[in-house]
């Protein structure tokens, strides 16, 4: 019934470290956004982050820096800027990424990622944010 035993889990070393880590980060009030470094010209990574939150990408993906982005449906997007292939198909270039974001169903029909009906500049902003995840 219980997925985790409360204190047993908490007492295990990993749990203790996790609590310590949260305790430490809890008191670190300053925001800790990813390092700025736009690899997509003209993109606004802050706006991209906001869009990611609004669209609910976090329901399927783990995305560092986005609140509640802990989804386990699609691949985690941490270190996205260093990943090699997107959608298991295309090299991870800004052009490919933007195309994918605008219409994933066109690139891999029937895949689980919905068309978000993004505009070009919106896709660019999101891509900009994702590339900050190094």
């Amino acid at each position: 019934m219980f997925r985790l035993r409360v204190l047993g889990q908490l007492l295990r070393a990993s749990g203790a470290i996790r609590i310590a880590a949260v305790a430490a980060s809890t008191f670190w009030l300053a925001g800790c956004g990813p390092v700025a470094g736009a690899s997509v010209p003209g993109g606004d990574s802050a706006h991209g982050a906001k869009l990611i939150g609004h669209l609910g990408c976090g329901a399927c993906h783990i995305i560092p820096g986005i609140s509640q982005a802990e989804g386990l449906v699609g691949p985690p997007l941490d270190h996205f800027g260093r990943r090699m292939i997107i959608a298991g198909l295309l090299p991870n270039t800004p052009e490919n990424l933007e195309a994918w974001l605008e219409n994933p169903q066109a690139i891999v029909p029937g895949n689980a990622m919905p068309n978000m009906e993004l505009k070009k500049d919106e896709a660019r902003d999101i891509a900009t944010y994702l590339y900050t995840l190094r």
Partner: protein, 648 residues
């Protein structure tokens, strides 16, 4: 020694050889044997306090983990089920395993000393109530460590507690554990009531009783009347879960609201039982540091009695949102507001004591005086929730969480800390360090208020109770972070207290019999007191036996050096309840294993009931052990004057 049916008690003063003889009669066997058989109220009292503080630490750690989870919105430190078990266990621990037992510990230790007797009325019952308390506490914590701690809050509403929605052993551990603990509370309460009525120094009439004893008396009397309610409710819940009864099962006519009634009929008086003894300790300690008797002894005593009496009639204010008729709600709302008056009387008496006294600012004074402020804050938030329409909004938000913490920390933990600073020298012979004490107080005071004062606002901004996470951007983020920081500061304060206790035990200044120049009987005996408490039983002629010579108004002539020498085995006086005139020489029991064995039997019963599907014979074995030890316990003993003298 031949046994006399009647005797004229000899009066006199204590000589060293007499003291030695008493010591021999009263002392507990050293070592393991003595550990399990002692009935000395002082040893039991200290055990109670230490055990309660261990539970306080456990509950505190649980609270800190909860506060980490809530420090920021949308955190995932705890899964929902973990959070639910932690907050429920935190509540259960603090309310049932810390708050009352710690007060019972102080009362256990202090009552005979402050009343001028050599032990409690039922020393073996005293031992029993302690062992049962420990056993039931361990029982419930075993559940917690098995991942089956309570998970429906301390109030445990049905139907969520029923098997349909709550499979597993969580609720079985909790419901049986509560019945188990209820036995301990009940026998302990009966012991206090009888001790209050009967075991006092000669001359301690009802109007000369130390004010502290009134708090524990009213709490104990209330417990006798309300604990059966919650025990019954939990027993019915256990039957519902395990034997298919339908007390709370809607499909067969059961009534979920019956649970709420039974629970709060108990629950609200219980809250008063958690604070009245602590208020009694403030009434006892604060005047000593103000260098004067308490202003309005009679008023405070009557207020205590009135609070408890009215306290039986306010339980429905926990149920304003259950769709009761307006007339009923108006009535309970009225009583909930009126109950403020006796509390106000007490608060004003304390404040007047400060203003008409000469306060000496010690750590104990700081804790006692801060209690007044914290009580006022906890009291007015209670006043707000007593008003039905306001309660419809305030109830089940963090406003009420803040309220209950102001009540339970403000009028339980803070007075208990004060009491520890005040009576620690009596218990150990050493003073707690004052410098560390001031640090301890200010850390706790600042941490506590930082944690819980903003929490009122969190509540006014609408944060509901018992949610394991909350969304960002609804106005609660900063306040929750402040509360978490405050909680950790408070924890540091409590840690300082523990450090002070340990270091002072080893190297604290020696206290002497009466380091505070206090007026009551416990300060007339050495620190720590000998096993027999009083070599000669003191004679009391006023409320403040040790201050008589210096209070102009007092015409008393108490005597602590000359009095009855009761030394045929263990003896003390029984007195008439009103006048305090001795009417019997009571034979006190010797050390006994019966309470411990009875507890072992009782524990076996409860474990057998818990595992009744697999291990029901264990309950039978436990019942046999319990019955046998009880019969052995009650078997009339010639040494205790319970049988006819065999030969003339």
């Amino acid at each position: 020694m031949t046994f006399q049916v009647e005797r004229v008690p000899h009066a006199g003063t204590a000589t060293p050889s007499f003291r030695q003889r008493l010591e021999h009669i009263w002392e507990t066997e050293p070592g393991v044997a003595g550990f399990f058989s002692t009935v000395d109220h002082k040893k039991i009292g200290i055990r109670y306090i230490i055990t309660a503080f261990i539970f306080l630490a456990a509950g505190g750690i649980e609270a800190l983990i909860l506060r980490l989870q809530l420090a920021r919105p949308n955190q995932n430190l705890l899964a929902p089920e973990q959070y639910d078990q932690l907050f429920s266990t935190h509540g259960m621990t603090m309310i049932f395993l810390y708050a009352l037992p710690v007060l019972s510990g102080f009362s256990n230790y202090l009552w005979p000393l402050i009343l001028g007797a050599r032990d409690m009325a039922f020393p073996r019952v005293n031992a029993l109530s302690y062992w049962l308390y420990v056993a039931s506490g361990i029982f419930m914590y075993v559940g917690f460590f098995m991942g089956a701690g309570p998970n429906d809050g301390w109030f445990n509403y049905v139907p969520y507690a029923n098997r349909t929605y709550n499979p597993g052993l969580s609720m079985d551990f909790y419901s049986l554990g509560m019945v188990f603990l209820g036995i301990s509370t009940t026998v302990g309460a009966a012991n206090f009531v009888v001790t209050f009525l009967r075991l006092r120094a000669p001359g301690m009439s009802i109007n000369r009783l130390p004010v502290m004893t009134w708090g524990t008396l009213t709490a104990s009397a209330a417990n006798l009347l309300v604990v059966p309610s919650v025990s019954l409710a939990f027993f019915m819940l256990w039957l519902d879960r395990n034997f298919g009864t339908h007390f709370f099962d809607v499909s067969k006519g059961g009534q979920p609201l019956l649970w709420q009634h039974l629970f709060w009929i108990f629950g609200h008086p219980w809250v008063y039982a958690l604070v009245l003894p602590a208020m009694g300790m403030v009434s006892e300690g604060l005047p000593v540091f103000c260098r004067r008797p308490l202003v309005g002894y009679s008023a405070v005593v009557l207020a205590t009695l009135a609070t408890m009496t009215l306290g039986f009639g306010v339980w429905v204010h926990h149920m304003f949102a259950t769709g009761l008729p307006n007339l009923a709600m108006s009535f309970f709302s009225g009583i909930s507001l009126i109950i403020t008056i006796p509390s106000a009387v007490t608060v004003f008496c304390w404040t007047a004591t400060i203003w008409t006294g000469r306060p000496v600012i010690t750590t104990a004074f700081l804790f006692f005086a801060s209690t007044i402020i914290l009580f006022v804050i906890g009291g007015v938030s209670g006043f707000m929730t007593g008003s039905v329409p306001a309660d419809w909004q305030l109830n089940d938000t963090y406003f009420v969480v803040a309220h209950i913490h102001y009540v339970l920390l403000g009028i339980n933990v803070f007075p208990v800390c004060g009491a520890l600073y005040y009576w620690f020298p009596k218990m150990t012979g050493r003073l707690l360090d004052e410098r560390l004490g001031q640090w301890n107080f200010w850390t706790m005071f600042v941490g506590f208020n930082l944690a819980f004062l903003p929490m009122h606002l969190t509540g006014l901004l609408g944060m509901p109770r018992r949610i394991y996470t909350y969304p960002a951007g609804v106005g609660w983020d900063t306040l929750n972070m402040i509360t978490t920081i405050g909680a950790f500061i408070l924890a540091v304060g409590v840690l300082l207290l523990f450090i002070n206790v340990v270091t002072s035990l080893i190297g604290g200044a020696l206290a002497g019999a009466n380091p505070w120049d206090a007026p009551t009987l416990e300060w007339s005996v050495p620190s720590p007191p000998p096993p027999y408490n009083f070599a000669v039983l003191p004679k009391v002629a006023s409320r403040y036996p040790l201050w008589e010579s210096r209070l102009q108004a007092s015409r008393g002539a108490s005597s602590v050096t000359e009095g009855a020498l009761l030394d045929h085995e263990r003896e003390t006086f029984g007195v008439t309840p009103l006048d305090g005139e001795p009417d019997i020489i009571l034979k006190m029991p010797f050390d006994s294993y019966a309470p411990f064995v009875l507890t072992v039997g009782t524990t076996a019963i409860f474990v057998g009931l818990l595992l009744h599907r697999h291990l029901w014979p264990l309950a039978i074995v436990g019942a046999v052990i319990a019955a046998a030890s009880l019969l052995a316990w009650l078997w009339p003993e010639r040494r205790l004057g319970q049988t006819v003298e065999a030969a003339p």
